[in-house]
Symmetry: C2
Subunit: 532 residues, 2 copies
């Protein structure tokens, strides 16, 4: 399909290979840098259209779950190609809808296509299904041993709630969609109202790829509309077997509740909030005061602080070095120009969080470049707060995520106090420490605590920047995510949308290729306990 | 520890290395073959004792999660040895408490120790942690690639609810306990009131093994007592991070609700109910009428039908062959002597289920050897019912599990009707078909439907007898289990009690051995995408 055909926003949901056309209620995207509404109107899907998409995904599953890994890979590679062919039309629309700079949108597009191709390669290679074979021993005493073989198989249709803060990489064809499609699950995306045009461009690319590679009608749908009509209806629909979500704790926990109260409860993979603690240990801080201050400043302000892995709380030892560091970091934060945030609601939530800490008598305000919150451009300003350990331990509000470029520094005076502070933390996506070998030898408990609290431990770096690779874990204990056993970034993410199935005494011809004696796919398998 | 020291039932909960001694309320085990109460009284744990066990497990986790796989393996091997050293004292007590015959108790003991040794071997070998390494590319453009490594790590303390129907293999040191301990999680077992003496014998064996192999106090506790004081208190305790359960749907769903409503929701792995459909396809039935009738009879009456995988519903084509089969099977069921069921409540639930179907005007009663339900010996009698497809489709009560030796036969007349029947089924542990190659070619949809409904597909066999091996899946979509992504039998079960943790840019010396460059454990790992 030539680029020109794709590069038009119709404002209509995509239901399999058809466009939705029933909706009459509409909203518009807003350019956060100007406050101006964008064309065209975006029509909400109706209840009937939601029902249609769900039923179509259920039908599509019957065919899609029988596609080979290589066929699914072709589909995913083609989605990546189609997205690239969108070119500048996509970039411009995404910039308009999010206020993000061109380099970021282009980088995120590359990350999104890279991610699709990574999952395609995993599906194509095929070993990810954890194939296991235990062969029969008919004359075993006291009972014969049967032939048993098992592998991961797709769960069924998946609903993906797109994130606001990554309009591409965690949105319509982001990590959740890519991993679910790679696993063999049809996907229905609930578009984020903050970037509907971007969502539709990508949705059209996915649809074009599905048609071109012979995937069933309904393997992918994209629905516009509100939480109740579209979101809740999808999560409670019997055809749906799992949910992926990236967003607020309130949104994620609401979906968890809906999913657990269904007649058939289903898994929800919600990536919610995290303050991403950074622990600065004494020698490392002394040796690298400047570099740590600079690195933290870059990490804390990247994307106007609108990253799930934004370093929100920093633990610094009391004393001269710590004071110097706090001074340096605060200076850099104070000198940072306001930047456009993603949308008005993120900006007002951020402003409220900053205001609350600013008004807290036990919290010291080191930086607030309070931009005028009444203007129509969604500007976000940096903020730095400081408090002592006692305050942090007593006042839970200091542990709350402030989504934006705000950082809270907590001063500690001895190891036992630092450990108490860390023990107070809830589940986190990441935990970072700056530490020399000597620090790590003197503070081994810091890593031991973080291992119980976080999904990823970062040494001498910063938590922003989530590498898409086989070993990445972008997860963490509740409330960072709904399910700390999983990751939403990296190839492990495919496992979320699967379940184990065993085949006992199956004829060879009826086994999936992954489990046949002659291993036609040439994948790694555990055969009678030995990896081959 | 010599056998004589262990072979005494004290009737007291085990809290780490100590005995509980606060409880004043007590119950007694009952011999279901006589209705007689057994000595000694079994004292319920108090709320303080539950709290103590939970806090002790939390403390033990700090040390136990740092034990190497080889150390955990030594612990599990020693548990198996200690159980074997219990010898006849264990067998006799288990027989008294359950009414199960000696061969079954000895077989189940062997299965339990075999299971412990299998999980020990998995922990010892070490590759199960799914170690992944992606090495750094410092000069990658546009951004450096960091070194990221990840593996599965233990979740934290686990509560295991012992099952009534497997007093050893799914009880105190059964599959849930073995897999959680192998993963690195301390375990608190809530004993089943049906076999407390057996539970205590095994609990003493686990404690002796923990002491002998240098495990921390609190790595294992065994609590007696009621659901509210002990069960609910454990599931809602903040120290507890996962739950394993085998039992009724009512019990399992109650735990799911408790766990999902905690401030920090935790996973519940509940194996609940299943009717384990058996689909007899025409040619296979014609060729093997006798053998299928005999095999089904053995499977349906094994353990007085008290197996989760008991074949409860059989789909048979209308016609002469089907009638002959039903006749043969019914004759065998009618000629089966009553056997002692596990306890009075299982027996009365079974009797109620049989009565309900017997009273259903649309259901034909082919066999009811109704034993006198008022006597004090817990006898269970076989039952066979039959109904047509329409009745099964319209009356949900026919799909309900009857835990005991009762089988319902549903007659179907054409393929589309059979598929409708199968589509009506909820999630199941198993689905069985008897089918020739010709049958499978003519009815490919049968397997396709079962793949969406069950955890294990059995060809030309019977679902009872769950092989403990690497590829076994003893799980299945809700309501067969709370979490169809998991299995409670086989080595995959270890994964339930883990979560992924990534280490970014960690110094070599601080990495777990599983992730060090020189691979000191010699395990299989995915290094830069290639399995080594």
């Amino acid at each position: 399909m030539p680029t020109e055909d794709l590069a038009i926003v119709a404002g209509r949901s995509i239901i399999g290979f058809s466009d939705a056309n029933q909706g009459t209620e509409s909203t518009r995207a807003v350019d956060p840098s100007t406050g101006q509404e964008l064309d065209p109107p975006i029509f909400s899907a109706t209840s009937e259209e939601v029902e249609k998409a769900a039923r179509l995904s259920e039908q599509a599953f019957l065919e899609y779950n029988q596609k080979s890994g290589k066929e699914r890979a072709r589909f995913l590679y083609e989605i990546a190609d189609q997205i690239e062919s969108l070119g500048d039309a996509l970039t411009q629309r995404a910039m308009q809808e999010t206020g993000l700079p061109e380099a970021r949108i282009k980088g995120e597009t590359a990350r999104t296509t890279g991610q699709l191709r990574l999952f395609a390669s995993v599906a194509e290679e095929g070993s990810w299904v954890q194939a296991r074979i235990d062969t029969a021993i008919p004359d075993r005493q006291p009972l014969p041993k049967p032939d048993v073989r098992s592998m991961l198989r797709p769960l069924g249709p998946v609903v993906v709630f797109a994130a606001s803060n990554f309009p591409l990489a965690f949105s319509t064809a982001g990590g959740d969609t890519a991993s679910a499609l790679a696993a063999g699950c049809p996907v229905i995306v609930k578009a984020h109202s903050s970037h509907p045009g971007t969502a539709e461009f990508i949705g059209q690319a996915v649809r074009a790829a599905a048609e071109k590679t012979g995937m069933p009608d309904g393997v992918f749908s994209l629905l516009f509309g509100g939480g109740r009509t579209v979101g809740s209806a999808l999560v409670t629909h019997p055809a749906i077997k799992a949910v992926g979500f990236t967003g607020s704790t309130a949104g994620g926990t609401a979906l968890m509740k809906l999913a657990s109260e269904r007649p058939e409860p289903i898994p929800v993979y919600a990536e919610m909030g995290s303050v991403n603690p950074v622990v600065l240990l004494p020698k490392a801080l002394e040796e690298n005061t400047d570099a740590i201050a600079s690195g933290l400043h870059v990490s804390a302000t990247m994307g106007v602080g609108q990253f799930c892995t934004n370093p929100g709380i920093v633990f610094v030892e009391k004393g001269e070095t710590g004071d110097q560091f706090i001074q340096d970091f605060s200076d850099k934060m104070r000198d940072t120009a306001d930047q456009v945030m993603l949308n008005a609601s993120i900006r007002s939530a951020y402003a409220a969080g900053v205001e609350k800490l600013d008004a807290n008598a036990r919290v010291e305000t080191l930086v607030t470049n309070s931009s005028d919150t009444s203007d129509s451009t969604c500007l976000g300003s940096t903020a730095v707060f400081a408090a002592d350990a006692e305050t942090f331990l007593e006042d839970d509000s200091l542990s709350e995520e402030i989504f934006g470029p705000g950082t809270t520094i907590i001063r500690w005076s001895e190891k036992s106090e630092l450990l108490q502070l860390l023990e107070k933390l809830e589940g986190q996506l990441t935990g970072t420490t700056h530490a020399t070998d000597g620090d790590l030898a003197a503070f081994p408990e810091v890593i031991a605590v973080l291992e119980r609290k976080v999904g990823r431990i970062v040494y001498n770096g910063f938590p922003t920047g989530v590498e898409v690779c086989h070993s990445m874990v972008h997860g963490g204990p509740y409330p960072a995510t709904s399910d700390g056993r999983s990751t939403s970034v990296g190839t492990h993410a495919i496992n979320r949308f699967t379940r184990l199935i065993a085949y006992q005494a199956s004829p060879q011809s009826r086994l999936p290729d992954e489990l046949k004696d002659d291993n036609p796919l040439g994948i790694h398998r555990l055969v009678n306990g030995a990896l081959e």
